[in-house]
Symmetry: C2
Subunit: 637 residues, 2 copies
């Protein structure tokens, strides 16, 4: 060894202080469910103060409301008006994705944002119906009831599902199981969202081309068959003209907005409303609806009616609603969480994920009682909200008030709005969900992840949203399971002139110590991989012995396992280590353990594995293990 | 720093050589499916040699058969006779657990062991029907058909299920997915086996007490209600006398065998057969069957009839069989794999798990065509086989031949065998499955694991085997998922007089460096935990800043993440790191990365994270990172 200054003082491996069962258990539970210790601010406070803190915790508006001022209000009003102009046409279109009448989209942009404004803690999220959840909800609901012939039942199930979506969301947050949504991997989400965007865009061909008979399936094959099958008689040129002209306008506005994001963010934000006004006006004066251009016809006037009597809380109807609600609620949560985290990181404020879920859940529960269907944070509108300079959730209140005014006064004006313009708006909105850049990054970084991404994408595009979602979740889980089954191991060598040992593949300059095999296990040793770890280590040893025979090298007398990356071990893992030790004894190879962590060393001690191999075979570092195990060998180096 | 000898030469972090997509992919596949590289011996061999090697691979008997000799044969004959004497009474009893006629148990100990002897590679396993699989198969089958009134359909389904159990086993081995059985954790298996043993023992109260009307449920509540409900008229004192006398005899034999394992292992092995002979003889001369002692009555004479025409390969009947077969086949595999591994480790020979599965699968497929139901390795008989000095699978052949002779000649002798003695034999056999010691070790080592163990145990005892199995699998999977969701992190400090940094909780003597926060992440950073890792690190930082304000310590200027245990990172993880970097920038804290592994550093480079933080912020060790990040700070220490 070059650097012997350390070798004289061989350090002891630390044993953590013994903890009682209760402490151990509480710690485990706390780390799992209360990683952020929500009760910390309540400690050592008088009762009244605790109540005030509790209320402020539940209603963050009370917190920031105290130092709200005029300049903030100005920012919120500008942002609120901007997202209102964007959300009104989107709401009408998204309601159609969920097979609901257009006013339900507007209803859903009135009540939920108000509730979120009081309870939510993200400052940038814009609440309302979103494309993917609307499509998913519509797809799930229409497997139960036909939205045209069984309109009443369909709507009742929609509100029941929305109620249970809210219950699911609030419950997950309340019992602090919010981390469950993390089981949908980023790659799977990118694929799923992209696939859903394509599916939604394809669905819009109906309105865009003015086709009357259209398939109910959402897969690309059925849709394209529907489109080409109606090419002779079904397409309406006036509709296509309106649709494509305004789509070009919207895309141009988007392009401008992207070019000068700082100053012109409002151009793509108000372009949809301008399109709607222009298109409606031109249809009205040309009476194009007489020439086959389909129009919205009627939007119910007035604000949200109560829908409490529509919801079923028990029975088989409720069971259906529950099933659909859980799925739609989880997907909605995933979207809201992604938005919340992104903007929290950009403005560097903290977001309690579980609390957010309670806010979103309450919002959907109350929403379901006021004729709203599942709402969540919208990617596109939240980005606009942020760009427009929103300061607090007041921008959602402003948006909500504008929607209320629209419902009370302006709905008759939408009578002549052509469906084609709504389709154009939806197409231009969902194109943003196709995240080429993320897909490209995934491709560069991890090919297996990319396959997961494509699996979810093609699952949605070629079968249905539900299947695509199932594929996405399955692939995500399979990835975790594969990861813990096949751990990586590495042979270590000495970096010349140091006591440091590193993977010889990563550091080609690292030199293997003759007669000593240093193996690093790169994973917790659990039941799922314990046997594999044992076999893999023995294989390294056999390979080494073969080479050694072929090249007449010194015999391997010592096997050192670097346990630095081994974060945990369970009884199966200890069992495998004991079997390994037995095999090594049969071959007269000595086993040394370097740098076991606190949890591992404690468990090895409890299972009497340390007694078995001998306390002196535990080392603080690989370098010391090499010296300690094989002083003669290390002198030769 | 005390030891500055290293600090002058700051080492570079190694980047692994770039690999092409194909190489990357092949490596990944190979590590997952061909961890042991089965094709290695075939390399550079002529065609004829490859064929011979292939045959020897498929039939290991050809391999060891060449140096088989008389002394080995002697060992195998002794072992074979011993396990035959143990298996005959067990077979008859286990067949009843599966609701089959007694001869089917004997059939199942004739054909399958012969096939395994040619194809299997474990030298110590004893093949035949086993208690848990018999119980599970019986429980699953009787949900479909009643074993008494629909005897014919029941038997047909049994053979169909056995066939598909074999197909499942062989297929898993063939496509090298054998690692799937590792997803049942050791703790869950201990609990499941213990629960099944209790359930089986409780079931034996029927025969043991001579009760005629007995519940079909297997949970402890139903069984005890059945037992106490029949206390007035249902119990037969002659039966109880026989049962308890011989149970005492069997337990005594077991105790003796355990005391002097080396010399007297054969005592408990032949005790069951002796009991059967004595009990049968005493019933025959006293004609106790006239006084309500239930007897076996009739065992069909002759060897296995063909049952090919009983198996359905398609249709809904086959679907039922497939479902049952998959479950029974997987449980059987788990048991065989555990036995195989245990004895392979004890005698230090290698076992190819996937090849074993192909052998077991073929054995069950052929077995299903010759009136055998699902067989696997038996814990108790394999242990006896090992103790009796078996050398190869020839001991299974010897056992099989003895069973054949029994079927051809001796079955009429079992006519007067009382059911009570079979119950006693089963009770004494399954008690060995209750592994107190393993449960105690699990309790000591890991409380969460112990809960899993108890969950499976009570699931089996209080509901049913299927539910218990489901609980066991769910808990195992939940453990993996929890493990990857809540990673451990640790604060590191400097061990005085070294460049080594260790967890300050494990090593109380480690000293934190003022102004520098060193955090170690103890897990791969994946989508399932990336957000959590980020939040946790920021929380360490906030805690530190609070303390620092309170105690007037120097400001934290540097955050160093020790990535030694981080075995992998995915796009979500990189995304979280980028968000972390942004948050740190807002707080004017610099980020350093110490010792990233080959895979991690490669992915960070591809995702341009290294460009983002700067190449100079990557360090080989934490020690160098502290010096490199904060030369001023480290000088002060």
């Amino acid at each position: 060894m070059a650097d012997r200054s350390d070798s004289s003082c061989v350090h002891k491996v630390g044993f953590p202080p013994r903890r009682s069962l209760a402490t151990d258990f509480t710690r485990g539970l706390k780390e799992t469910f209360f990683a952020d210790d929500p009760l910390r601010p309540y400690k050592d406070q008088p009762r009244s103060k605790q109540l005030a803190l509790g209320l402020r915790f539940l209603f963050p508006a009370l917190e920031w409301g105290r130092d709200y001022n005029l300049s903030r209000l100005k920012g919120d009003i500008v942002a609120g008006l901007t997202i209102a102009s964007l959300c009104i046409p989107q709401d009408i279109g998204y309601a159609k994705l969920a097979n609901m009448d257009p006013q339900y989209g507007l209803y859903s942009s009135f009540v939920p944002p108000l509730i979120y404004a009081a309870m939510g803690s993200s400052r940038d999220i814009a609440i309302g119906p979103v494309a993917v959840v609307s499509l998913l909800l519509g797809a799930l609901l229409q497997t139960e009831f036909d939205p045209v012939t069984q309109k009443e039942e369909y709507r009742r199930l929609a509100f029941t599902a929305t109620f249970f979506a809210g219950v699911t969301q609030a419950a997950l947050g309340f019992v602090r199981l919010g981390f469950l949504i993390d089981f949908l991997s980023h790659a799977a989400i990118v694929g799923f969202m992209g696939g859903a965007a394509i599916t939604i865009a394809l669905q819009q061909l109906k309105g865009f081309l003015g086709i009357k008979k259209f398939t109910k399936n959402t897969d690309v094959v059925s849709v394209m068959r529907s489109v080409w099958g109606s090419v002779e008689h079904g397409w309406n040129w006036q509709t296509m003209l309106i649709g494509s002209a305004f789509l070009a306008f919207l895309l141009a506005a988007k392009y401008i907005g992207k070019k000068k994001q700082q100053q012109l963010f409002w151009v793509p934000a108000i372009a949809p409303l301008i399109s709607v006004i222009l298109a409606t006006f031109s249809v009205y004066i040309t009476r194009a609806d007489k020439h086959g251009v389909q129009i919205v016809k009627k939007i119910e006037k007035g604000i949200n009616p109560s829908s409490v009597d529509h919801i079923r809380f028990a029975g088989s109807f409720a069971a259906k609603g529950f099933r659909i609600g859980v799925v739609a609620g989880m997907v909605a949560l995933t979207e809201a969480a992604a938005i919340g985290r992104t903007f929290a990181a950009m403005k560097d404020y903290q977001l309690d994920g579980d609390k957010e879920m309670v806010a979103l859940g309450t919002m959907n529960m109350l929403g379901s009682m006021t004729s709203c269907y599942v709402t969540t944070g919208s990617f596109s509108r939240s980005a606009v909200n942020y760009m427009a300079g929103c300061e607090t959730t007041v921008s959602n209140v402003v948006m909500s008030l504008v929607v209320m005014l629209t419902l009370l006064v302006l709905t008759p004006l939408f009578e002549y709005t052509p469906n084609a313009i709504l389709s154009s708006i939806i197409i231009s909105a969902v194109l943003a969900l196709i995240d080429y850049e993320a897909a490209h990054l995934i491709w560069k970084v991890d090919r297996f992840d990319f396959m997961a991404c494509m699996g979810a994408f093609f699952g949605v595009v070629f079968t249905s949203v539900e299947i695509g979602l199932l594929v996405a979740v399955s692939i995500s889980l399979a990835k975790i399971l594969l990861q813990v089954t096949r751990p990586r191991t590495a042979l270590l060598g000495n970096l010349p002139g140091t006591m440091i040992y590193r993977n010889v593949e990563q550091y080609p300059e690292a030199i293997r110590v003759p007669g000593v095999l240093v193996v690093r296990v790169d994973s917790a040793i659990y039941f799922s991989n314990s046997n594999d770890v044992k076999e893999r280590i023995l294989r390294w040893l056999r390979d080494e012995e073969e080479q050694q025979k072929a090249n007449d090298l010194p015999r391997v007398d010592f096997l050192i396992i670097d346990m630095s990356p081994v974060t945990d071990v369970d009884t199966s893992g200890i069992h495998a280590l004991k079997e390994l030790h037995k095999s090594l004894q049969n071959r007269e190879v000595q086993l040394g353990i370097a740098n076991p962590g606190a949890v591992v060393v404690e468990k090895l001690r409890l299972a009497e594995f340390i007694e078995l191999i001998g306390q002196e075979k535990l080392f603080l570092t690989v370098g010391e293990a090499v010296i300690g195990c094989a002083p003669k060998v290390s002198d030769d180096v």
